[in-house]
Structure formats: C-alpha cells, structure tokens
Amino acid sequence: MEDLVIVRPEGMYCPPGDFYIDPWRPVDCAVITHGHGDHARVGMREYHTTSQGLPILQWRLGDQVYHPHEYGESFTLGDTQVSLHPAGHVLGSAQVRIAHAGRVWVMSGDYKRNPDPTCAPFEVVPCDTFITEATFGLPIYRWPPMDEVARDIAAWRDECAAQGETAILYCYGLGKSQRLLAELAACMQGPVFVHGAMATGVEVYRAAGIHMIETVKVSDTPKGADFAGQLVLAPPSAAGSTWVRRFRGAQHGFASGWMRVRGNRRRRNYDRGFVVSDHADWPDLLRTVRETGATRVIATHGNTDALVRTLNEAGISAGTFATHFGEDD
C-alpha cells in the first residue's frame, strides 16, 4: 500500500489528497502547521491553516488565499479527509490528521506537551503512522517546570537591577517571547521592554486575547532612556548588533531548550541560559509516540538518529524523512 505522505523536492506530499504539508517550494495546495519561517513560506496558491493561526500567517505572509479551519473540523482534500489538531507549539499550531481508505496518518509539525498559556494544549490523536519532529531527540533534553524558570528570570532581573545593569533576554519573536511574557505576568511587575521586531507578534497575540505582562517598545522610549534594572526581550539576531549598544552595562541571557547544555551557552557568550522550549523533550517524544498508538514512526528533523534507533529497539518501526525544517528554539 502506498504511503499517505512521501517526500518530494517541493516538500512533504500526500498523493491521494494531492496536497503538501509545510512545503519549502511553491505548490498549489499547502497545509501549514504553524507560522514559523521554515514551515510557512510564501508562494503557495492556497493555504489551509487553523483559525487561531490565521492572524499569524497574515502577519508573516501577507495577503494570500487562506482556508482557515477550526481544530478538529474535518475537510476534504482530494480523496482524503483532513483535520487539524492542537500541537501546543505556538498560537494556532497544528498537527495534521489524514484519513484515507481506513488508514490514519498524523504529521505532528513542531509540538510540545508542557503547559503554555498562549496556545491550546497538545491533543493526542490516535493514528497508524505518526510523523514526528525530533529537535531534542536525546535523553539529555528534559525540561524543568516553566514556573521555576520564570521565577529564575524574574530573580535575574532583580540581580541585574541590584548591579545597575539591564537584563537582555534573547528569544525567538514568534511564540517563545509571547509565552515568556505570559508566564512572567504571574511572577513579576512590568513593564518588560521589547525589540521592535517582536512588538508586532505581541500585538497579534494580544488581539487573540492572550494575557501577557505589560510591554513597552524600546523604540517608543525617549532617546537616552535609562534601562538599568529593566528586562528587555530581543530576537537572537539582535545580539551583538548596534541596537544592543544603547544598553550600557547589560547582562545577556538566552531562553531556549538548547540552553540545557552549557557549551551552547558559553559558545555564544551568553551570561545566562534559561531552559525554555517550545518543542517536546525526550521523555515527551517517547510518551507521545506511545500514546498515539502508532505502529510506524517517521522522524523529520532534529536528533532523529537516536529517536529512530530507540523506537526500533522498542519494536516500533521507525525511519526518517529528509526535510528542510530548522532546529531553532
């Protein structure tokens, strides 16, 4: 029997449904799991996405032909029935469920199982074949509780304040920054200052009704403003840029799952690393595979080798897809 999803030069393709999932080259029909740049690209004739994710795609991709769907709503593409289910990765992120001739395949997109106040929690979707990400596919990756990390960040700002320094926390602009702002609302006083490139995303989330700590755009502050004792959120690309120079006397931190390993932090010369990830950690990758009941697993990106071998040794047939998805977190 033919596979329900295969890899073509354009991206992951479903032959009986004649559509692509998160394609990297222009195609007619694309189902988009979420708004990150390596999954949502311009150039597709039609975009299927979640209603919650629509404002993000409109922000990132502009005017396109969009078909928004509610989570769980079934729609027909070719000979298949398709539905989108919460992936818990960022606002509007989805897993793609494909049903055809009595078989069910699920493509996870990027996902996590840890609670996140900015998006719907991951839903276990039973399937025969589960296509999973494996960004953090090694047992060294295990996430600490988020509220602990949020308190560490608040304490770090206080430490910086005591030394008259600014705390600059780098994190990805879509998803991670909003999640941090939502978590920080519970454990510290605002405002938190944000880089201009992040502000739009924060607005999109606020418009979606997500509660976050008060924010102020750095560019809205008067020239020569003093940021000592303040927490500033900026995208990683701002590190070392002229933009950062305005914060005289600053400590630099990075919020990412990669910060679990000291070498990653030290190599990038961050003073502090905070372990916050929007991807599943190792125990959750294994748990999720188990809970879907899948007898076959295909890993798309990340440390796929270790996950594939572990699953095969556990009697679950596993392999990989070579995709163009990145490993940012």
């Binding site: 070498g263 990653n264 080798d305």
Partner: protein
Amino acid sequence: MRRFTALYQRLDRLTATNDKRRALVDYIRGCPPEDLAWALLLLSGGKVGGARRKLATTGELREWVSEVSGNPAWLVEESYHQVGDLAETLTLLLPPATMRAPDQGLHAWITGVLYPIANAAAEVRRAVIVDAWDGLDDAERLVFNKLLTGSMRIGVSQGLLQQALAEVSGLEVAVIAQRMLGNWDPTAEFATRLLSTEPQIGDASTPYPFQLASPLEAAAPSLGDVNDWHLEWKWDGIRLQLIHREQEVALWSRGEERLDGRFPEIEAMAALLPACVLDGELLAWDADDAQPRPFAALQTRIQRKKPGLKVLAETPVVMVVYDLLELDGNDLREEPLQARRAKLHALVTGLDHPALRLSPQVVVESWESAAALREQSRERGVEGLMVKRATSAYVGGRKRGDWWKWKIDPMTIDAVLVYAQAGHGRRSNLYTDYTFAVWDGDALVPVAKAYSGLTDAEILKLDKWIRSHTKERFGPVRSVTPELVFELGFEGVNISKRHKSGIATRFPRILRWRTDKKAADADLLATLASLAN
C-alpha cells in the same frame, strides 16, 4: 559543597576577569581553611582521584548512569558526543533527585565520602556514588561529577587565583605565587600558612615563578636602540629551573613539575655548583656537535623516570643557562640582567662542566644584522632570537615589555581538510577539530590535526559546510569530501615511525583558508618530508 557549587556556577557564568576575581574573593573570605585548601587544589587543575586513588573510571560512570537512568550504553555515548563533557552528560542524564541530602563541605565530601571508597570493589564505589547522586541537585551534581572525572577546567588562571588570595590576605601576589608553587597537600594547615602574614619557612626547593616572553609582533626597530637589548638564541628545548640550596638539588619544568631522577647528568653537575638558582633550557646535545638535536630527541628522555645507561648514552642532555636568580642565598632577581649575566658567566666558566653551557649573547651592530642572523635560525637548530632588556629585573609571569621572543616564521604547506570532529566545552557540537592531508601519489595522507587559527565566523561557516559535505561518520568523527584547502603553519617536521604518513608535524595551526585553491593544488607528502630535520 553548596558554597563551592555557588562559586562554580558564578565563575561559569562570568566572562569578565574582574567579576571572576570578585567571585573568588567572596568565596575565599570566610571559607573554612580545610575547604579552601581543596578549592585551591581544584581551581588549580588538581584532581581528587587519579591512577593511585581510583574512584570511578569513565567507563564505570557511563555504565552506572546507563543503569540508573535506563538509557542503553549507545544512547549515553550519543549524548556524550552532543554535550562534549562527561561530567555534564552524567548530570543531564541522571533522573531527578528523590531527596536533598544535608550539606557537607568540600573537605568532608572528599576525605569523608570519596577517599574511603578509593580503590574499593566496584560495587562499593558504585553504591556510594549512586547514593550521592540521589541527594544532590543538578548544580551540585555537576561539581560532584567533575570531582569524579578529573579537573574542573573553569577558566580561572593561576594568576587570577593568586590575585584573589593576595587581595584577601593583604600579601603580595609574588609571595602567594611562591607559596603555591610545587607540590602541596590540600590541608587546612596549608591554607592557613598560605594566607598567613607571618613569614613562612619556604621549602628549600621552592622555585621562583618563571619569567615568560611575549611574541614580538611589531618591527624590531620599534624597541629602540639595539644596544639597550640583550639578544640570545631562542632554544627549542625544555625550560628548566635548577635549584641548589642547602645541599639539595631540584629540577623544575615550567609546568611547575619536578623532573628529579629523569636527568641524572644534570643533577650530578648541579651538586658541584655553589648554592644557586639557574634558569635555562634543557637540550639534547651531543658533545661533538655544533648545534643541539631537535626537540623530538628529548621525548625519549622525558618519558623515562629512571633512564638506563643506554638511554643516557644515546641521548645526552645539557643545560644551556641564561639567567642567575639566586647565588649563595642572595636573591638577585631585582638586579639588572647585565649584572646577573656577568655573575652567571663567572659561575659557568668556573665550573667548566660539559653538562652546563652558557647561552651566548648574540652581539649585533643593528636590528638589521639581528634580522639577518635570525634568518639562520633553522640551520642553527634554534627557534629564533630572544630579545631581553639589558637593564631588566627578573619578573615572574608574562610581563610585557622586557622579554620578547622573536621567532622565525613557521614552515607552511597547503593541505586538504579530510576529517572533522566536534570540539569540547565552549566548542562542543561545533566541528572545530580538523585533520588535514597532503598528496602521496593519488592518495591523500593525513599529516596534521589543527584546532585553532580560524575566526569564529569562519568556524561557523566551516561547521555548516562540514555538515552538508559529510561522507562517512566514525563515532564523533566525520570524513568530508576533500575539497577545501588550508594553509597550515608549523614549527617543525620530524620523521616518525608512529605516524602512517611517516612524519610528524609540530604545533600545526591554520594560517588561512585558501578559498582560491582546489584540492589538487595541495602540497605533496614528499615536499613535507624533505623539510624534516
């Protein structure tokens, strides 16, 4: 151990030297001396375990963490390759602690928990270590695992540590440095004596801190009048401090390691000297030869703790001296170099011993003639010239301005990148360790490994290239398509039976990325072999 763990964490986060010194000062102040002694040992690169006091081999630690965490051995290994540090890998793999054991000081941990199980049966050691893991949080576990796996490697130089100790005690850094040289036991008494403002009876064999030279990068004439400078050849041997005090002889290498027993002919010569401290270079030098043998000849001698007669006859060594730090109990280090040299000259001439030679002054009229002489370095079997200010005092450490090393330019070849391996620590999960090859007929033969010489931007670019041009993986090593050419510099080439290529390169490093060259343009093995001395 919580106090020391907090220090470790602080040092690990800080990059500025001043901040690190402040962290050390905070730790040293009020630290119980028995814990301070151990902290100093660990921060100086000392180890708790070792060959004679086995706590856990790296293999055992891998096995135990595999059992405790339920991850198979291969997955522990994969994890280690990603992390690049065994102590940290263990920490990240261990399941969360089920309890929090009461805090114990560093001294109590080491002498009360670890030493009693040293060399015990594996089950005994396993039980104690696994139990300890379960009572520590992640930060403490990392420090504990570092105790088990070896040195701390935390980016604290001896100098910085000594500065912090000096600040706390109010003593001169030099006094601290002298008291910390050599072998000391990490006892409360040692820590107390180290910080004591009372004069301490120094062990008679305690050496002075070596004075180090900085590379001369500017044009030599920028140093001013050539007559203000004392020039000598830069010898390619082992830096040595010879101490003869109170009828005892001690030989110290620059790594602050005693070399006693390895060089009996030097010790025999030293016993004939008056009480003195000499600074110089140990070289393999045949009596009839005009120049010393290459550095590689010394290898056989360094390895032998008690060399036999055959080894002694095959590779005779001499000490070429260039400074006199102490004579008849008088510290001469504050005297100008010229005055010290005059006394040294008298001493060497007076003894007239074949194992003691004076490093001759290289007399020149001008910087131009010095440069011309420097060009002859390779033929003379030396590394270049040393340029020392004639009036300078002898100062421990690398104080810029008085001592310069003016080395000859390195030999260079163009070689092809063939293998890459991820680095450690800061460079873990980046491919930064490279193997290079040259042509032997149609085959590329590896001839050098190099770790440094590229900019951070180039390292990132090359890392990406390596990932997308991998041919095969051998554990942590990847072979890559042989396309990229690099110019390598090195200090020398030796014939070697241990290397497949038949040669060994010394101090290879990357000079630049030759993006203008193709693999076919790389050098030939024969060319490299012809440079061998």
